[in-house]
Symmetry: C2
Subunit: 223 residues, 2 copies
């Protein structure tokens, strides 16, 4: 079948309409995709943190708990942002931290535990025994804690919120680190990072299971 000028014209019109339709669909898909797949959280916090009042974040609802009348500034700070990320947990918090003595961060963990979030803590055996460590209080409150038995340090400093948001960096959870040191914390939602850290947590959690403790050298047990 041969096309006359009018036939070609109709054919070209149809092709143009098809093209326009496809482009419109593509634009729509992109817009929907942008809305549907929001950008992953990617944030960096640097310390030392400005010292601010964190009562508004940490106080449990009740009369007179907010606003706090203390003399500290009440604005934004790196510690405030870190607390907000942690307190966003609804289901689980995996915490793997070498040194934990910060009262504010401990309050956040206690608060999550009381809210019914499943909290699991891994820490270093040497550091957990020092003065000011919060680990004993976490245990007293019924939070599950496990520690290493190795000669090396359990030197990680990371937390995973709801198995989705990784909080990791150089910052130990101590007041010295928060208020005096140069430190960094990354907040990360990309699965390429979150998944390996989750796997590392589960590996360590299982390895530090008290049921697996070996108090005697292998040879003696087998005698």
């Amino acid at each position: 079948m041969r096309l006359g000028p009018a036939g070609w014209c109709r054919w070209a019109g149809g092709a143009a309409l098809g093209l326009a339709l496809a482009l419109a669909l593509e634009a729509l898909a992109r817009a929907a995709g942008g809305w549907w797949r929001r950008r992953p959280v990617r944030e960096v916090l640097f310390f030392p943190s400005r010292v601010t009042c964190t009562e508004a974040l940490l106080a449990e609802p009740g009369p007179g708990s907010c606003p706090c009348p203390c003399a500290l500034p009440h604005g934004d700070s790196a510690l405030g942002r870190l607390l907000r990320r942690l307190l966003a947990a609804r289901r689980s918090l995996e915490l793997c931290v070498f040194a934990f003595s910060s009262p504010q961060l401990a309050r956040a963990v206690h608060l999550l535990h009381r809210r019914g979030v499943r909290v699991r803590v891994v820490t270093d055996a040497d550091y957990m025994a020092v003065n000011g460590s919060q680990i004993g209080r976490l245990r007293l409150a019924g939070i599950q804690v496990r520690h290493d038995q190795e000669s090396g340090y359990m030197h990680h400093k990371f937390a995973i919120v709801d198995q989705k948001v990784l909080i990791t960096g150089s910052l130990n959870w101590t007041t010295q680190a928060i208020q005096s040191n140069r430190e960094n914390v990354l907040i990360v939602e990309d699965a390429e990072y979150v998944k390996p850290f989750l796997a590392e947590f589960e590996r360590i959690w299982e390895e530090y299971n008290p049921a697996n403790y070996t108090f005697f050298p292998e040879g003696k047990k087998q005698k």
Copy 2:
């Protein structure tokens, strides 16, 4: 103008062809985009690292430098991967590390310096004086080093390769950390992380400039 059945048929054929053309173009653009905009590097290393021979990475070209005949295993390891990422530097290395005593990591930094890469090191004043610190040797080789003057620690442990790849985590650059501790290192190319760390490096580099040292309290200088 009204279309007969043949006209409709041609119009529909044209529309279908236009749609197919648009879809093909889209697929081509996607494929080209995937090739053009490669996925950013996102890698996680966990330590302790398997102890392996790193001579093949660190030896400068010369007779007998490779393969190394030593008894250590010659396979992959977390330290090997970290060294590879560092040795990929062609133009610059910014290094901001609390404790630096690892001989292998020091060799990598010396190697980059000799290759003409611009190396700048920031470290902690207290730790740089301990036995085994590599900081003195870096300075002797002509590498620029600056350190804090503060009461808090310069506790960062990050490096930036060619202003594009961030290497950061809990790992101090010591043999103890590499071989005995539980540690993590993230390799990151996303600008959301690299830019703030570059800015933090420049801020610290300028703040620790010896020209800005204050050896006497402000009041005394102004007397």
